[in-house]
């Protein structure tokens, strides 16, 4: 994701409606869902057959194994090594990648010249050294989000990524690669909702967030998320994705956060991380997001809502609906689209790639329905970007040699990228998560100086 896109304010209602003209025509013919037409903004989807990137996964906890399961299903991924310092975890994960080398020392991964990319899914506080060493070793790096649990570490990671333009660096902000979100961003930023009122995000679960192990020292390692020394808690470790999405959709940076948290349910297991939290994030454009999360009650699960004066958009996973106020101006296309009822409200379905009419898109190139998970798109886009950047660097060197580092850097900055978060978005989301966690922990308002977001 380049800075231009991060700061883009070029979307307007007319552009969005023009983009949807074919959808409107198809809707008139038979009544179909709205869909994402332009694939210029959409992720690359299935990579070209024949492209393979040799990749290793470092960190094989529960999330690391989910990543591995997703990677082995991607045609572009060739998982050649899996790594965790805890041998039984490596063995357990090997069931999903039986051909991958099983490694306990990550340095072996970094020394292996055949491995071009690494996915780092260790506990948050262990990311920094791994990322910096991996970039130094010439590996493309996908680092799970949040990138770090301290401002210093987050900035060090971002600086290292900035200094390595010849490598793909992607924080695990998977929603930034989701076609459904890319479909929604122009609409939400177009002003079609009216002036901003507020935003809301929630993540409710009924679970301990604890993993058991027969060995006490291993159990302590596994449950790092329950110790505030290492963990950013619910608002940081879970909420990082939703906080990032809010900044992206609102096209604004956070400037302060207030919060509070309690251990309401899981009081007996010695944790010092709250199991129920609330935070209010104030953005530079005057809008605020209220975030809440609990491990004590699962009612209403996960969702986000963006409220404007005229309409609200609710997202649940990869589904989205538009709810209009009775006095909201008619946009035109919404009359013909699919609608769903929620209690007393009617939501207009906003869904990318949901219809055969997508085959009539501006490019004339058929789009497959967007049915994969955001994680799958994020990892696929990471590997495709890694491949394209490496190819562009090789092409440049074969054309002009490698004396002119600035010209090479300039060339690489122009390489077409699949939608993915970069170090800037990673830094923004991680700083927000760190400051929100601090507000929840202390119960105090925490200011976020703008200079923290630049490296």
């Amino acid at each position: 994701m380049n800075e231009n896109e991060l700061n883009s304010t070029s979307y307007n209602r007319r552009d969005f409606i023009r983009g949807g003209s074919m959808a409107t025509m198809m809707a008139l013919m038979g009544g179909v869902d709205l869909f994402a037409q332009t694939n210029a903004a959409a992720p690359g989807g299935a990579p070209k057959p024949g492209i393979k990137v040799k990749v290793a996964v470092i960190g094989l906890g529960a999330w690391g194994r989910d990543i591995l399961k997703t990677l082995v299903r991607l045609p572009i991924a060739e998982v050649v090594a899996i790594c965790d310092k805890y041998a039984p975890s490596v063995k357990k994960a090997s069931a999903d990648a039986p051909a991958a080398e099983q490694v306990e020392d990550y340095k072996k991964i970094l020394e292996n010249k055949e491995i071009k990319a690494v996915v780092i899914s260790t506990p948050t506080h262990l990311h920094k050294d791994l990322v910096i060493e991996a970039l130094k070793a010439g590996k493309h790096v996908y680092c799970e989000a949040p990138m770090a649990n301290t401002v210093e570490d987050a900035r060090a990671i971002a600086a290292a990524a900035k200094d390595a333009p010849h490598l793909a660096f992607q924080p695990g902000l998977q929603l930034r690669s989701d076609p459904q979100r890319h479909f929604l961003v122009p609409f939400i930023r177009s002003g079609a909702l009216g002036p901003w009122v507020m935003a809301r995000a929630q993540s409710n679960k009924k679970q301990a967030w604890r993993t058991s192990s027969p060995k006490p020292e291993r159990e302590k390692e596994l449950n790092w998320r329950l110790e505030s020394e290492f963990s950013l808690g619910l608002v940081g470790e879970l909420g990082c994705q939703q906080l990032d999405q809010a900044a992206w959709f609102l096209n604004a940076k956070p400037r302060a956060v207030e919060g509070s948290g309690n251990i309401c349910v899981w009081k007996e297991d010695g944790r010092d991380v709250a199991d129920t939290v609330q935070a209010t994030i104030h953005y530079s454009n005057g809008v605020f997001l209220t975030y809440s999360a609990t491990l004590g009650n699962s009612f209403d699960g996960d969702y986000e809502v963006f409220y404007g004066r005229d309409s609200a958009v609710m997202l649940r996973g990869s589904n989205a609906w538009l709810f209009k106020e009775v006095d909201s101006p008619l946009l035109g296309w919404e009359v013909y689209t699919k609608k769903e009822t929620f209690y007393k409200e009617t939501g207009i379905v906003l869904k990318a790639g949901a219809s055969k009419s997508a085959d009539q898109g501006a490019s004339g190139i058929p789009e497959e329905p967007f049915t994969n998970t955001p994680l799958s798109y994020a990892l696929g886009n990471f590997l495709r970007n890694a491949f394209d950047i490496a190819t562009a660097a090789d092409d440049f060197k074969s054309s002009f040699g490698d004396d002119d580092k600035e010209a090479l850097k300039d060339h690489l900055m122009k390489v077409r990228r699949q939608p993915a978060a970069g170090y800037q978005e990673g830094l923004l989301a991680t700083i927000t998560a760190i400051k929100a966690a601090e507000a929840v922990r202390t119960g105090k308002r925490v200011e976020i100086p703008a200079e923290l977001f630049t490296v």
Binding site: A40, G44, S363, I365, T391, R416
Partner: protein, 221 residues
């Protein structure tokens, strides 16, 4: 006797084309180049662009290395290899915005990129057509050579404008336009299926290029 002289002259000329050039200058590729392909289809025109043109050009003393230099009429003895990495090219909207990664992938596939990673031009002849009128206007040459695309090589010829830029780095910009047929290179015209019928891509493709070259950088003593 005359016949023997003629044969000898022909042998010398042929050797001149293959042996290292006398008083030759080897010019290498520099950043700042652009290669653009333009084509048609039955739904809209398409365009593809890349910023990398690599390779080298060896020329004799008749080639203008400096602005305003006198150029003798006739042939310039030339040797070289000029290439465009296929993956450095990508599709664009008419206004220059990126178009489609899928379109790029179709293009790479049709150009057999996995086995032929470059489009390469091997120049064989450069004949002065029009000398530069002043220091900023171009020298016009007729260029001839072999163009290799997707594993098929064809002889092509086209006019090029040569503009020496002068200055410390003595860059030279060579620009030109030519048309080729995809079928001449056994490239199957892309025809992706869509629900309402078939997109048919035109056989003719226009190549437009600006190639920037220059002598090697002088190393510090």
């Amino acid at each position: 006797m005359k016949r023997k002289t003629l044969i000898a002259a022909q042998i010398i000329a042929a050797l001149a084309m293959t042996l290292p050039l006398g008083a030759a200058e080897k010019l290498g590729a520099k950043p700042g180049s652009k290669m653009r392909l333009e084509g048609t289809s039955n739904i809209h025109d398409w365009q593809v662009e890349g910023k990398l043109i690599g390779g080298y050009l060896e020329v004799d003393e008749n080639f203008p290395l400096e602005p305003g230099k006198e150029a003798k009429p006739g042939k310039v003895v030339v040797k070289g290899e000029i290439f465009v990495p296929i993956r450095s090219m990508s599709s664009l909207e008419k206004d220059g915005r990126p178009y489609s990664t899928k379109m790029d992938d179709i293009m790479y596939e049709k150009l057999l990129e996995t086995t032929n990673k470059r489009i390469t031009f091997y120049p064989t002849e450069l004949v002065l057509k029009e000398a530069a009128k002043d220091k900023t206007s171009p020298y016009v040459y007729d260029a001839k050579g072999n163009l290799a695309v997707a594993g098929v090589t064809n002889e092509v010829s086209f006019a090029v404008n040569v503009v020496p830029q002068g200055g410390d780095d003595r860059k030279i910009k060579i620009s030109g336009t030519t048309s080729v047929k995809m079928s001449a290179f056994k490239i199957e015209a892309p025809a992706p299926k869509i629900a309402m019928g078939m997109i048919k891509t035109g056989d003719d493709v226009k190549l437009i290029f600006d190639w920037v070259i220059g002598p090697p950088k002088k190393t510090a003593q």
